[in-house]
């Protein structure tokens, strides 16, 4: 394993020896990771490597079997609600209600996040993602790309300092994917801490300060993104996955 870039004394995310089991199956086998404030980390790995489980535990919607998680200096579990106030999550599911309008969805979430002036803030974020004209339309009528833009608006409503993205490119056409990349680049330039789980090696590398590869519930490899190019990353990733399959059988 290669050395990770230097991290500040108080990491934004500090995970120590995280284990998650489902019955006898080990989804995570002692994952330890530190992420500095403002750092952007891309997590790659084949299906079943434990990436999504890792993100779900960090988001406090799933409990770890053992291990410690500290987010912005606060142990997860002691102050879940205050951590949720600092956290924005964008997944391959939108978390949006089909039969509410774009505006109603955002106002609903704004109220849950105690955002001042929910109506005004909803209009602001709708304008930022270019959906102001569609504010009164039901989400059911939105394309996948528009839904994902609205999901970004939802995640940004409360101006979070931490962003977790779980395969946000799933199902997007090229135009929508390019818009998402532009958005993520902007968020990265604002020095928000970003944890991105993706299968897209090129997109992930372009958006990250550090890349981490998960295999069979463990961190198999990590390196600073600036020390990598697309070709090297691809070669390395496929060698690691193929090696794991040879040793343990197919994982995905």
């Amino acid at each position: 394993m290669n050395a990770s870039p230097a991290v500040s004394p108080t990491p934004a995310i500090e995970v120590t020896n995280l284990v998650k089991t489902f019955g006898t199956f080990y989804a995570l086998r002692g994952v330890s990771l530190q992420i500095a404030p403002g750092e952007s980390v891309a997590i790659f790995g084949p299906n079943g490597a434990g990436k999504t489980t890792f993100l779900r535990i960090l988001s406090a919607i799933s409990r770890p079997s053992s291990g410690e998680i500290v987010i912005n200096g606060q142990p997860l579990g002691d102050g879940t609600l205050s951590i949720h106030r600092q956290l924005g999550v964008i997944g391959h599911q939108s978390f949006l209600y089909d039969d509410l309008t774009a505006e109603e969805n955002l106002q609903f979430y704004a109220r849950l996040y105690d955002v001042p002036r929910p109506s005004h803030r909803s209009q602001e974020v709708l304008a930022e993602v270019g959906l102001r004209e569609r504010a009164k339309d039901r989400v059911r009528a939105f394309s996948r790309g528009m839904q994902q833009r609205l999901a970004i608006a939802r995640a940004m409503l409360h101006n979070p300092s931490l962003l977790f993205l779980d395969e946000p490119y799933t199902g997007l056409d090229q135009h929508a994917a390019s818009m998402l990349t532009t958005w993520l680049s902007r968020l990265r330039s604002e020095r928000r801490t970003i944890l991105l789980v993706t299968h897209d090696l090129d997109q992930g590398l372009a958006l990250a300060d550090r890349v981490v590869i998960f295999l069979r519930g463990k961190i198999a490899w990590e390196k600073a993104a600036r020390e990598l190019d697309q070709h090297t990353l691809r070669q390395l990733y496929f060698d690691l996955v193929a090696g794991a399959e040879r040793r343990f059988g197919a994982t995905a």
């Binding site: 609600l81 978390f95 039969d99 609903f108 109220r111």
Partner: protein, 225 residues
Amino acid sequence: MSELRKLLALIRKDLLTEFRTKEMISSMLMFALIVVVIFNFTFDPGSRATAEAGPGILWVAFTFAGVLGLHRAMVHEVERGCLHGLMLAPVERGIIFLGKAIGNAIFIFLIELPTFLLFSVFFNIDFWKGLDKLAVIFFLGTIGFAAVGTLLSAISVNTRTREIMLPILLFPIEVPVILSAVNATAGALAGKNWNEISGWLKLLAGFDLIFLLVCFVTFEYVLEE
């Protein structure tokens, strides 16, 4: 105060979604009415057997239609990952439970009224004298049913046989509520006074309180894996 605002936002969201589509209420209502109509073919209106079985028939209609609604309400939350959206928000899980349970109770109340009217017409029942008692019984019975139903629908929605799993889990636990509600309804329809049905009402209120507290506290563990 902030938690109250969140609770109201949760309830408003459920009502807005449902009144826009009417998907859940219409299927619950149709189901409840069909139950009453079918039982009407079985019993002679005005007979002693009808008077004895009537309250049971009524609560069979309410509970089966209620199960349909509870299931649909939770499936809506899961479909686009909305339940995860709620879990990620800085809201106590107990408040999410209360919001869903109150929403469910409102939908069940809404189908109880027309179902009861049809029932009283078909079974030739004069309910005017006991209307105040029936209102209290329906309220207490529905609260208890919706509280446990909301908790168990959050469990069953993640199982492979979720449509079947909810009634299997729900009905054994709901026995005290249904038993009390049926007996109190029978008393009210028979023209008994408050004192005579107070035992059942106290039992109903007691179970409501226990179920609400237990469900409020345990909802967090049900949502998390």
